[in-house]
Amino acid sequence: MKRLYFFIIGAFSLVGLWAIYYRLTEGLKMTALTSNVSWGLWVVFYIFFIGLSAGSFLLSTMVYVFNMKQYEKIGKVALLSAFFSLVAGLMFIFIDLGHPERFWHALVYRQPTSILSWEIHFYLIYMLIIVAELWFLLREDISRLVIKAKGFKKFVFKLVSIGYSIPDNSEKLERDRKQTHKWMKILGIIGIPTAIGVHAGTGSLFGVIVAKHMWNSGLTPILFLVSALVSGAALMLLLYALLVPKEKQDNTMLKSLGGLLILFIAVDLLIVAAKYLVGLYNYVPDERQVLLNMMFGERWYIFWVGQIMLGAIIPILLLSIKKGSSTLKALAGLSTILGIFCVRWNLVVPAYLESPMPGLETAFVHDRLLFEYTPNLFEWITSLGLISIVILLFSLALNSLPIMETKEGKEDNGETADGVQAI
C-alpha cells in the first residue's frame, strides 16, 4: 500500500517536473492566459496555498502561544502543513512569472510602493519563522533519529537537525525543553502578525487595485484572512481524521475543531454576503455586472455549488451530525477545502472578464486579447504535478518524522502513509 502510494505520487511529481521544464523553456504561451485576463489558474492556486498556510499557522499558535492544550495533537502537523503549503504557494507564483529566472529582482530592486514587493519579503520572513518553530519542536526527535538511522538517512537527519543533539543527562534535557517552550511562544507571537500580514497582505494585492471595482474594497483583505482560517481548520480536520487511526483519535478535539470550522465558515459567509450584496445594490458596471456574471452567468456553479454548497452547507451539515464518525469529519474538511478553492477562483478570475473600457473587446481582436479564460490542459497538468511534488515531500516528512505522535501513543509509520493516500 505504502509503496503503491509513493509510486503514484512519485509518478505525478515527475510529470510536474516535466511540466515545469516545459514551462520554463517555452514561456507563458503554454497557458490560456490573455493580455486582458492576466492572472489565471496558477494565481488562484497561489492564493489558495498561501491561505492554507496562513490558516494552518494561525491554528498552530493556538497551541504554542495561547496554550490551548486541547489542540496540542494537531500543533506539529499544523506547522508542517503551513510550511509545505507556503512552499506550494511560492512554487506557483514562481512558475507564473514571465521571467522566473529574474525572481531575485524582487529582492534586489525593492519597491516600497508595491504591495507585491512587501509580500515577497513577508513570505520569506514567515518561512524563516515556520522553519525555526519546526526545528525547535522537532529537534529532540530528530536527534534521536540521527542516532538510530544509518547511511544516507542519517546524513539527511543530521542536516535537518542543524547540529543539535540530545544532551546526555535529563537535567539538561529538561532545560532544553523549557527553552523550546519559550522560543515557540516568542516565535509564535512574532508569527501571528506575520501570518496575518502574509494573507491579509495577499488580499491587499487585490484590494488596492482601483481598476477592478469588485476587488477595490477594504473587505477584500479581511475576506482573504477569514477564508484562510476556514481552509486551515478544514485541513487540520482532514489530516487528523485521516492520519490518526480511529481508536487513537481524540473525539472531543475533533468535535471542538469541527465547531471552530463552523464558526469560521459562518464569519466567512457573513463577509461574503456583505461584500456581494453591497456590490449588487448599485449599478456600477464593473462591480454589479461582474457579480451577476459570477452568480448567474455561464459559470454559476463555481459560486453556488463550489462556494456555497461545498464550502459552507455540506460541511456544516456533516459536522452537525451528533454521532458523526471521523470519516464524515474528514469529508467535511475535504469539501470545505474544495469550496475554498472555488472561493479563490471567484476572487481572481471573474473580475477580469469585464472589459475596463466598453468597446475595447472588439477594438482589436486576437486570441490573446479575449476577455475569456478557461485554463488549458497544460495548466491543469502543471498544477497537478506541482501539488504532487509538495504532497510527496509532505508525506515523506510525515513518514519519517514523528509528527502525529503524541505523548499518549505512537502510530505506526506505515499507516501514516496509507492515510495520506486518500487525500
Binding site: 514561456g27 493580455s35 514571465g98 481598476a211 473600457m357 466598453p358 468597446g359
Partner: protein, 256 residues
Amino acid sequence: MEEKKITRKKFVITSLLGTLGLVAGELIRQSHSIDNIENEVDTENKKYGMVIDLDRCIGCNACTIACKQENNTPPNIHYNVVIEKEEGEFPNVYNSFLPRVCMQCDKPPCVKVCPVGATKKQKNGIVSIDYETCIGCRYCMTACPYGARSFDFGENYYDQPNTFEASPYQEYDKIYQRGKGKAPQNSVRKCHFCSHRVDKGELPACVTACLGKARFFGDLNDPNSEVSIKAKGSWTLKSNLGTKPRTFYLGEKRDD
C-alpha cells in the same frame, strides 16, 4: 555548548534587528517620494503630452498600423487601438471612435504596483518599462484602468518571423530583435509615446500617420506649444480614478 547558545541567540536577535532596520530604512528612504511621483517631474524640462481631437478622428486606424510598424509589435500586442462604438437610435445611428493609447498617467497605478520598479515615470512625463528588469508578474496589467498594457507571449505573425518582423527596431534607448526568449518577450509592453523618436526630436509615429490630423503632441510645459493651446477645454478618461492622464481628449465627452 554554552558558548554556542549565546551565538545562536545573538544571531537571531541581530537578524531580527537587521530586518527591522531594513524595513525602517526603506520606509524613510521612500516616504517622501511615494506620493510625489508628480512633483518629481522636472518642470525645467519638457513634459510631454498628447491631445486627441475626437471630432477629427475618422476611425481609419492609420495610427494603429503605424504604431505596429514602428514598434514591431507581435499580433497580440496593441499599443494603440481605436475603440469603435455604434451610437444613437435608428435611423440616426453613427459610429463614434475613441483612439486609446497609454495615458502616461501622472499618478500611474501601474508604476505604483510594480514590485521591481521596472515600470517608471520618467522626468519627461512618459511611463516607461525596462524590459531587462521586468519579471513578468503582470500585476501592472491588472492595475491599469485603461487596458493599455499587453503581455508579449513570444508569438509572431509567422512561426518563423519574416524579414520585417526579424529586423532590428528601437524602443526606449535600446535596439531589439525578435527571437525566442529575447527581450521584450515574456515582459509587459505598452505605448511609450514612441520615446525613441521623441528623444530624437521626432513626433510619435501615430501622430505623423494620422489622416484626420486629430492628434497633437508636444511639450505641455511650454504654454505656447500647439499641444498646450489645444489642451485647453479638454477632458481625460476616467478622471474620477485620480490617475491624472497626460493624454487629453477634445470633442464630446465620452467617459467610459
